[in-house]
């Protein structure tokens, strides 16, 4: 099967040799503004990747090189320099990138 294209990941996206353009409409849960915060955009890119690079998609197409799995939400807490506590929820997304590997013969001289 053909490798996934940029536009399949982000509908409406385009590229040339110097840049990648991603429409904000391709970024889930993002409220598009003239100046979205950087982390808003990055979180939306992660969410879109998680929706596209599923385990099922790679099971169906072994040419896929990326799999994203969402883990369980965790609770965390931090303390500032004067001991004030802030509580956080963190959502983990595990990305697996599959790279072809050629095993090397074992050479005694390397040991």
């Amino acid at each position: 099967m053909a490798e996934i294209t940029l536009a399949e990941i982000f509908p409406g996206a385009s590229q040339d040799s110097t840049m990648v353009m991603i429409p904000k409409s391709a970024l889930p849960s993002l409220t598009a503004l003239a100046e979205n915060r950087g982390e808003q955009l990055l979180a939306a890119i992660v969410l879109r990747a998680a929706a596209i690079f599923t385990v099922a998609a790679r099971d169906a197409d072994a040419t896929r090189s990326i799999v994203v799995e969402r883990g369980s939400t965790r609770i965390d807490r931090t303390f500032d320099s004067v001991g004030v506590e802030t509580q956080w929820k963190s959502d983990p997304f595990e990305f697996q990138l599959f790279v072809p590997y050629t095993p090397e013969p074992i050479n005694a001289d390397n040991y």
Partner: protein, 215 residues
């Protein structure tokens, strides 16, 4: 510390209200072509995040909402051809408030001690207004049975919760029989140590009715 901007993660990136544009030079290790594959660009985006959103950055500034951790690669030699599996974890942090631990909250996930009564009968006279029916204990009902024991009922019956909310109203769920006999209504509801209040809508009722709550 101010939140990192798009341009600080991807140098040269710009945005409008409709789109984000990222120069390929901001995607580490990517060899820019006129048509890079989607996987290549996604990997480049991820590597940029990995380089910028280190665990140390968030330790130094809790305003940073992302952390990317690189895990130990794994060799998958069971596939043909063998593959090296690089794993990265992206953590998205958002502030929250952890509920205070109280003794009462422990075990709150357990199902409430519900008993299904074989039959809970309440006998009331007709032509009543606000007759209280005390339901002691916890009960889960699936059926409500009205039985006219004597006489007749031409009107309707309403059962109301103490808040005034309608628990059941035969005016909304006809038919309701008028002669001696019974009507069974399927009505799934759970109540625990509460009261319902029975009211008839007409002064013409004559007789006695029985209300049965059945599990």
């Amino acid at each position: 510390m101010p939140e990192p901007t798009l341009g600080s993660v991807f140098p040269g990136a710009t945005q409008t209200v409709t789109a984000v544009t990222i120069p390929k030079t901001a995607l580490p290790t990517l060899t820019a072509r006129s048509a890079n594959s989607g996987d290549q660009i996604a990997a480049g985006l991820l590597l940029a995040l990995l380089r910028f959103y280190t665990p140390l950055r968030r330790v130094a500034d809790s305003e940073v909402s992302l952390v990317v951790q690189e895990l130990v690669p794994v060799l998958d030699t069971f596939t043909t051809p063998p593959q090296l599996v690089e794993a990265l974890t992206v953590l998205l942090f958002r502030p929250t408030t952890i509920p205070e631990l109280t003794a009462d909250s422990v075990g709150a996930n357990a199902a409430p001690p519900t008993t299904t009564p074989p039959l809970l009968e309440v006998e009331v006279g007709a032509s009543v207004s606000g007759q209280e029916i005390v339901l002691a204990g916890s009960f889960a009902f699936t059926r409500l049975r009205f039985t006219v024991l004597e006489g007749f009922l031409y009107g309707y019956l309403g059962l109301f919760e103490s808040s005034g909310a309608t628990a059941f109203d035969t005016n909304q769920h006809p038919p309701f029989l008028a002669e001696t006999g019974e009507t069974v209504i399927v009505w799934s509801r759970s109540y625990s140590n509460t009261s319902l209040f029975l009211t008839t809508y007409s002064a013409n009722e004559q007789g006695r009715i029985k209300i049965s709550f059945e599990g």
